[in-house]
């Protein structure tokens, strides 16, 4: 048609101007299509990683919640999202809905566990040796403990050089005195006279002073592990086994287990190995160099844990490997950790073959029963013993700390820790009442008794858990310790009320970990939120509305949100990117509109006579407007198509090579280490419509100006 011919000719006759405006349009279109394609793909991949790992497609939680549910958003788990009192009933209602595949109970909490204490571990070994009458081992272990006491005393002496210990706090002065006692020859000569008393002294007074009695903080998800594993397809066991059906238990998230629970030097070597396999070299990579340095100076993390027998074995191996005659392990180890790209592989293997077998490689081992400490909803300190069955991960997200920081606990233990009075808890209270001779405890006192003080804190889960003195040493548990001291005096479990209650509780708790619960028992009770898994192909939004209606009808007092809202900050992340993209496009298109508008106004003024002539020889106003529109549309089509085509190529390239994730968050967003974006016809259409609108908008004013040109202007020109 003639209008397009005129338009094309006009565009061609103003090449520079057309290319500037067209370039803007093409770039805008390119950004729009690439942005929409990436975000579209991100939306899908993020839904996959978030909803298939933890949240489900929908989440239900209390309608009375003070705070919004934010599964990835709040690291302390302390938001008040209310509770769901009767999960069994809610589950029944939810699973009666035709769109719902499963309703999985959940609750997020933060907790802490004491990392293995070397003295505790050694004392346990000593106890075993004493029990077995193995004099030789007993002697080796005793020597090791004595050496550790010596190291601690030396450290304390160093502190004494910079501070005035005589005027220090009571605790510090007491620590100095205890270390002196334990370092005394007399103490060790008298050891055999009363080994139990000596060991108890070491356990209660000295062990807490050991350097590596670290506290591990972590977040865990209380859930029904069997049904969780079935519902979330990304979940898989890595080490050990799943928590047996119906039983209490704990699973570590593999990534965090390696990062936080593993021996520091071993973990660092593992990370170095990964990095070297990624193609980095020690010669060039500053992180690797820093890790080499850290390993060299932190050799005490190893020597501290080796007894004489182990020291001898390690020394001989290292001497042989390094062809050295050096006797001091303190010098051999830094030499050994001076690794290069050439010798890393051999030394890594040697470390695991020779050194690692003598170390506590993990502060908590799979198969250990550990004591998890937390706080009840009312704020009382509380604890529970729970067996670690294994580690798990979410497939393809296993490198992301964001997805890798959440551990898993069975619902029964979770409820105990969170302070809900389950049937088991009631039984325990009764047992405590009987054992301690207390006749009646009011509800509020009972909680204080259960979670805040009493014998419970004295119970040890085993070698890898602290004593009650360790508890007192931690500031978080000060209140608990104070209560304890007030109630029972010094907390040595040496008979009396505390000991009886404690022993009864310990026995009771051991029994708890063996107990097998029915599904009915697991379901009955409190949960905090529920992951709703929808059947395949169900429309999420429609399902959410319909499920909400059902819950309202049943008067369950729950609100339903989608995975995006439920995941908290990360769910909003996509909106942040959308906003950034929108802002960038806004700027580009506004500039395009201004530039186009300007150039077309100029063109109108330049073409006044031409327009006047057309009007004079019979062109209607509408035709003049159409002529301008045609020019704009041609521009949009030509350059928009070019931009969209280029965008298509870019996305195709990304799709082929994959866009690598660069951090924790992007691994979750990409649902794996790489994103393979795809572009849809609808992205092109949206871009086409938007670019056309932008060009048409920029044509409005010049077209209006052109419309006002009269045929007279063609005539007057002649005069």
């Amino acid at each position: 048609m003639i209008l397009f011919r005129i338009a094309l000719r006009n565009l061609a006759s103003h090449k520079l101007k057309s290319f500037i405006v067209g370039g803007l349009l093409a770039f805008g279109t390119l950004l729009l299509v690439v942005g929409l394609a990436l975000l579209g793909t991100l939306d899908v991949s993020m839904e996959k990683s978030v909803s298939n790992s933890i949240t489900g497609q929908l989440q239900a939680y209390s309608a009375d919640a003070k705070d919004k549910l934010a599964i990835f958003g709040n690291m302390n788990g302390g938001t008040d999202i209310g509770t769901i009192g009767d999960f069994a009933r809610v589950r029944q209602v939810l699973e009666s809905h035709p769109d719902v595949q499963a309703a999985i109970p959940q609750g997020l909490e933060g907790g802490m566990v004491y990392g293995g204490n070397i003295i505790d571990t050694k004392l346990e070994a000593l106890r075993q040796a004493e029990k077995a009458g193995d004099k030789e081992t007993s002697a080796v272990v005793r020597a090791h403990v004595r050496r550790i006491v010596g190291l601690l005393a030396a450290d304390m002496a160093k502190i004494g050089e910079v501070t005035d210990l005589a005027n220090a706090s009571t605790e510090t002065r007491q620590a100095v005195a205890d270390l002196a006692t334990a370092g005394n020859d007399a103490f060790w000569q008298d050891f055999d006279r009363d080994p139990l008393a000596a060991m108890e002294f070491l356990e209660n007074k000295v062990a807490p002073l050991a350097l590596n009695a670290e506290m591990l903080f972590f977040r865990y998800l209380g859930t029904d592990p069997v049904r969780f594993a079935k519902a979330f397809e990304l979940f898989e066991i890595v080490d050990g086994q799943a928590i047996p059906p119906g039983q209490r238990g704990f699973l570590f998230n593999k990534l965090n287990y390696e990062d936080a629970v593993k021996h520091k030097i071993a973990r660092r070597l593992d990370k170095m190995k990964d990095r070297l396999e990624d193609g980095k070299t020690i010669a060039d990579d500053t992180d690797l160099q820093a890790w080499v340095k850290l390993n060299k100076v932190q050799y005490k993390e190893i020597t501290f844990q080796l007894d004489d027998r182990a020291t001898k074995q390690v020394r001989e191996s290292l001497q042989k490997h390094l062809s050295s005659t050096e006797v001091a392990l303190e010098k051999l180890l830094p030499l050994f950790f001076e690794v290069t790209d050439a010798n890393f592989a051999t030394r890594y293997k040697l470390f695991y073959d020779v050194v690692a077998p003598h170390l506590m490689l993990y502060a908590v081992k799979i198969g250990d029963t550990m004591t998890v400490k937390g706080f009840t909803a009312a704020g009382y300190p509380t604890s529970a013993n729970v067996k670690v069955y294994g580690t798990f991960r979410f497939k393809s997200l296993d490198k992301s700390a964001l997805a890798g920081s959440l551990h898993m606990m069975d619902l029964m233990t979770y409820r105990d820790l969170y302070g809900y009075l389950s049937a088991d808890k009631k039984a325990e209270i009764e047992l405590l009442q009987k054992a301690s001779g207390v006749k009646e405890i009011k509800r509020e006192d009972a909680e204080a008794e259960l979670f805040g003080g009493g014998g419970e804190e004295v119970v040890d889960a085993g070698a890898a858990t602290p004593t009650d003195v360790a508890v007192a040493a931690s500031p978080v548990d000060e209140a608990a310790a104070a209560t304890q001291v007030a109630a029972h005096g010094p907390s040595k479990p040496a008979g009396g009320l505390g000991e009886r209650a404690s022993n009864a509780t310990k026995l009771y708790r051991d029994e708890l970990n063996k107990r097998v619960y029915t599904q009915q028992q697991i379901d009955t009770g409190v949960v905090r939120n529920i992951a709703i898994i929808l059947k395949k192909g169900v429309n999420q939004r429609a399902a959410a509305a319909s499920i909400q209606a059902l819950l309202d009808k049943e008067k369950l007092g729950l609100q339903v949100v989608d995975w995006r809202t439920a995941s908290g900050a990360i769910g909003n992340f996509l909106w942040v990117i959308y906003s950034v993209l929108a802002a960038a496009l806004g700027v580009i298109f506004i500039v395009a509109i201004i530039v186009m508008n300007n150039s077309m106004v100029m063109a109108t003024l330049e073409r006044t006579r031409e327009i006047g002539t057309m009007r004079a020889i019979g062109a209607q106003k509408s035709l003049i407007v159409q002529m301008f529109m045609a020019e704009a549309v041609t521009m949009a089509l030509v350059f928009g198509a070019f931009g969209a085509g280029l965008a298509g190529i870019i996305i195709a390239v990304f799709n082929h090579i994959g866009l690598p994730a660069w951090n924790d968050v992007t691994i979750v967003l990409f649902a794996g280490p790489r994103l393979y974006p795809t572009v849809g016809l609808h992205h092109m259409l949206i871009a086409g419509v938007l670019v056309s609108l932008v060009t048409l908008f920029s044509t409005l004013y010049p077209a209006w100006l052109a419309m006002r040109v009269t045929p007279l202007q063609a005539m007057q020109d002649a005069e």
């Binding site: 020889i617 019979g618 045929p711 020109d717």
Partner: protein, 239 residues
């Protein structure tokens, strides 16, 4: 050649322009009829109202008073859209500076009014445009753009464009003003030849050569018709 009904009939037409509060009369009480087949010149000095008169007849302006009939239609009663349609169907325009569409070639410029009319098919359009290209003597330049043509060639394109819709009358505003005398004469020859073949022409000019060729001269002075005699004496008087 008179057929009874004039193509253009002006009765008591006046046109005032307003410059602020001052009213400037451009035409005063002009009455005029143009019959089919005429080759008429409106002559007069600058500012005498030639172009104003041509604009009123060309339906690009409306009279302040009086009646302008074009092909029997009273232009004062028509809407802008109808006036545009009237220009397209009944009138042909030739401008002093040719006023061709720069981005279109000669052929496309000539074809343009036919595309606006939307009455002819592609083949009929092509035939008519080719014929005209031949008649105005620029067939070999059909696909040259105006920038590639001389002034005379451009005016020939403009004449062909004015004729392509087969209008009742062709209005030419100083058609030779931008041409050298040799070219101007050739263009006048062409128009006279076309007039003999039946096209009605109305010129505004102060070029004596144009006046000398006119079948009839309408002389305007200060917006009034001083004289509209077709005799040679008139022509000589203006000269």
């Amino acid at each position: 050649m008179a057929t009874g009904q004039p193509i253009v009939a002006l009765t008591g037409v006046s046109k005032d322009y307003h410059l602020g509060k001052v009213v400037v009369p451009a035409l005063r009480n002009v009455s005029l009829a143009i019959e089919p087949g005429e080759f008429t010149v409106i002559a007069g000095p600058s500012g005498s109202g030639k172009t104003t008169l041509l604009n009123l007849i060309g339906c690009v302006d409306v009279a302040s008073r009086g009646q302008v009939l074009v092909d029997g239609q009273d232009t004062g009663t028509l809407t802008e859209k109808q006036l545009t349609r009237l220009r397209l169907e009944k009138l042909g325009f030739i401008f002093q500076s040719f006023n061709l569409v720069g981005v279109l070639d000669a052929y496309q410029n000539i074809e343009f009014p036919l595309l606006l009319q939307k009455t002819l098919g592609k083949q009929e359009r092509e035939k008519r445009v080719r014929d005209l290209l031949e008649r105005v003597g620029i067939a070999q330049y059909a696909h040259h753009r105006p920038g590639e043509l001389s002034g005379g060639q451009r005016q020939r394109v403009a004449i062909a464009r004015a004729l392509v819709t087969q209008p009742r009358i062709v209005l030419a505003d100083e058609p030779t003003a931008n041409l050298d005398s040799h070219t101007g004469t050739a263009i006048l020859d062409l128009m006279q030849e076309l007039n003999r073949a039946g096209t009605t022409f109305l010129f505004s000019t102060h070029d004596p050569r144009v006046v000398s060729r006119a079948g009839r001269v309408v002389r305007l002075i200060d917006g009034e018709i001083a004289d509209h005699d077709a005799s040679a004496a008139d022509r000589l008087a203006i000269q």
